[in-house]
């Protein structure tokens, strides 16, 4: 993950070092090229749009992503996923795959003309409160409907984010508290270290889990990679967790399991009115858990994917929506309020 982040930062340095490129001409054709042949040759869309510098940087990023993933995958495959090899290699695979995917999405965004959306991350607010409803379709469990409370308090570099998912039709509650500290900034990008604790009670299924985790998240403002990517960002997260499972049966001991956490996301802003984010999250301990491609082979490797949108009706309140697909399908809507000065971006 660190290698992938370094590659992204390196690409942004290269962009700043180059002389100003000619004005690119994004549009439907460059966008379509970015989608289809561009899925293999990242940067193709920008190349067709005339932005050769950004095209090259995206191609290099995709190569770095593939290379990092291969560096992780090779020893994993050769060792037959040996128990002592997994720890160092799987994070490389995730980071590399994330970088590869993000460079493709960036090509699509810029080639279609995403920079014209003139997006920018809003200034952080001291308080964020979101109240919402989530529908969780998981045939393994009895619940469907959840009341969701998501809050955040920020002061300077410190953020505290408690949240709760409370089922309204089943005995199921998920409580989480995350604390994060911003350790670095670069433009609208940043690096946070975070620690979180989650307690999830499955009352009607007679078990509960408690998870402690630490993670590092880096967000890169992609305007640093190319002007055509203005208003968008890439995020990578890496972490580890320790989960205790309490089976709530007399005489049955706790189980303790470690987990690897990894996430990558691509997001962009529309002015300061709206935000859309696409993400992949490798964790399988939450409601969404892991994807299955269907009845055939391929389950058990991946986490879940999601898309989240926020629309600000005014500087202080807005609407949010999210869909997630994994072992469960989740659709969530909410209203959010933000107020107070949250300090530096």
């Amino acid at each position: 993950m660190a290698a992938a982040l370094a590659a992204l930062l390196g690409a942004s340095s290269a962009a700043r070092a180059e002389p100003s490129p000619p004005e690119p001409d994004p549009g439907p054709l460059p966008g379509l090229v970015a989608l289809v042949p561009g899925a293999l040759l990242h940067g193709s869309g920008h190349w067709v749009a005339g932005d050769r510098g950004t095209a090259r940087r995206l191609l290099v990023l995709s190569g770095v992503g593939l290379g990092v993933a291969a560096i992780g995958a090779a020893p994993l495959a050769l060792s037959g996923a040996a128990r002592r090899v997994n720890g160092p290699t799987i994070p490389l695979i995730l980071g590399g795959a994330g970088t590869f995917t993000l460079s493709w999405i960036a090509d699509v965004y810029g080639a279609f003309g995403g920079a014209s959306l003139a997006g920018r991350a809003p200034a952080p607010s001291r308080w964020w409160i979101e109240l919402g409803y989530a529908h969780v379709y998981d045939p393994q469990f009895a619940y469907d409907h959840f009341a969701v409370i998501d809050t955040s308090w920020r002061a300077g570099d410190l953020r505290l984010s408690p949240s709760a998912w409370i089922a309204t039709d089943d005995d199921n509650q998920r409580l989480r508290l995350e604390a994060a500290h911003r350790i670095g900034r670069r433009g609208d990008g940043w690096i946070d270290v975070a620690a979180a604790a989650t307690y999830h009670r499955y009352g009607s299924d007679d078990f509960a889990s408690a998870l402690g985790e630490i993670s590092v998240t880096g967000r890169l403002d992609l305007a640093e990679v190319g002007a055509s990517l203005r208003g968008s960002y890439a995020e990578l997260t890496a972490g580890v967790g320790l989960e205790l499972v309490d089976y709530r049966l007399a005489g049955v001991p706790l189980d303790v399991n470690d987990l690897l956490l990894g996430r990558f996301a691509y997001g962009f802003y529309v002015g300061e009115l709206a935000e859309l984010e696409l993400s992949y999250d490798h964790r399988r301990d939450d409601f969404a858990a892991g994807l299955s491609p269907g009845a055939n082979q391929g389950s058990g490797f991946a986490g879940h994917v999601g898309a989240r949108a926020r629309f600000w009706a005014s500087p202080s309140w807005g609407l949010t929506a999210e869909v997630v697909s994994g072992a469960a399908l989740i659709a969530r809507v909410g209203a959010a309020w933000r107020f107070g000065d949250g300090g530096e971006r």
């Binding site: 720890g87 301990d285 072992a327």
Partner: protein, 360 residues
């Protein structure tokens, strides 16, 4: 609108990828042809072929209760049961039927006379099937790319004293090509005892219904000599919700010892690797059920090595040493597990005793 509905339908299929297989199990155990009908109680055997001359079955349990009805009288009608217990006897209400000579130990062939319009009921079982006493089986998994040499594993299993049958947690094949299944059938025919198996993820690589046509159920459950065995289909890194209801019923009616097997371990003992159920919460749900149901031991595959650990206080064993690409540096190589059952054991650790059978 239609496109959105298609996407939703596809997503819904991803949420229950194994539902069709779970329902197919209810169709196993019946077959008809040329005026002859064969029914195996509980779907405990796949009825591959039925005709005027005989029927061909693949047994998925040590004891089969059969019903055969014919519209015409037929003398010397041949009942050919592959994957049967070596000492199995075909018992009719009034007599037993001798095995036809020349069969391999795990292939039973019997010639019976069918009366027109009358159903013949029979039981195919070893004479000691209902005697509650200690006995031994072998557990293995993950043959896959080791198919060409799996006869070496089977020969090693045949040398384990007193083994009654093999339990497999799946990934018998690598790519689910028809030729691989034929190769497996040729190899398993060399085993002196039957091979009772569920599927893994590799059986789903193409045409998952090949398993159904050849072997019958994806989910196996039977009782033998005071021990209940349950092998469930987790080929999609999950159990279909239907199976939890079936599992509850099987645990309620279980014998003195109950062992559970499935391909994916609910939790990978190497957490970072997470070669396990695709939902950790479903994993916890399953283990809660197994602990509440008094399961004595659990067996898994998928990971090509040997691990012994505990989940929810239940002894757990991963044995994926059937010949697939191995986990390196584990010091194990190809292997199987010998499992000694003693239904009269005072403690759980006495009722199921597991040992490592090294092949290499």
């Amino acid at each position: 609108m239609m496109r959105a509905m298609m996407v939703l339908a596809l997503c819904a299929a991803c949420v229950r990828p194994a539902d069709e297989r779970a329902l197919l199990d209810f169709e196993v155990g019946v077959g008809a042809g040329d005026g002859v009908e064969v029914e195996v109680a509980g779907g405990q055997a796949a009825v591959r072929e039925v005709g005027a001359a005989g029927a061909s079955l693949w047994a998925q349990a040590p004891v089969l209760e059969l019903r055969v009805a014919s519209t015409e009288a037929r003398a010397g009608w041949l009942l050919d049961v592959a994957n049967c217990m070596p000492s199995a006897v075909l018992s009719l209400p009034d007599r037993t039927v001798e095995r036809e000579p020349g069969s391999r130990p795990a292939r039973c062939r019997f010639a019976v006379d069918l009366a027109a319009g009358e159903a013949l009921t029979a039981r195919l079982a070893p004479p000691d099937a209902d005697v509650v006493e200690p006995f031994r089986v072998v557990v293995m998994g993950d043959i896959q790319t080791g198919m060409d040499d799996v006869h070496e594993v089977f020969e090693r299993i045949d040398r384990v004293p007193g083994v009654r049958f093999v339990l497999s947690t799946g990934d018998v094949v690598e790519d689910a090509e028809p030729e691989e299944y034929q190769a497996f059938l040729a190899q398993v025919a060399r085993l002196d005892v039957p091979f009772f198996s569920t599927i893994g993820n590799h059986e789903l690589t193409q045409d998952p219904e090949q398993w159904h046509r050849l072997f019958g159920r994806y989910n196996v459950h039977f009782a033998f000599k005071g021990v209940s065995v349950t092998l469930l289909d987790s080929g999609n890194a999950s159990l279909d919700p239907i199976l939890y209801d079936r599992l509850d019923g099987w645990m309620e009616g279980a014998e003195a010892v109950h062992v559970f097997g499935t391909h994916y371990p609910p939790f990978d003992p190497i957490g970072v690797r997470s070669a396990s159920f695709r939902s950790r919460k479903e994993a916890a749900k399953l283990l809660t059920r197994l602990a509440a149901g008094g399961v004595d031991a659990t067996f898994y595959g998928h990971i090509h090595s040997y691990y012994a650990f505990e989940n929810a206080g239940i002894p757990a064993y991963i044995s994926g040493g059937g010949g697939a690409i191995p986990e390196r540096f584990d010091g194990v190589g190809r292997h199987a597990l010998s499992v000694d059952f003693d239904p009269a054991g005072a403690e759980a650790r006495d009722r199921v005793v597991v040992g490592l059978v090294r092949v290499d």
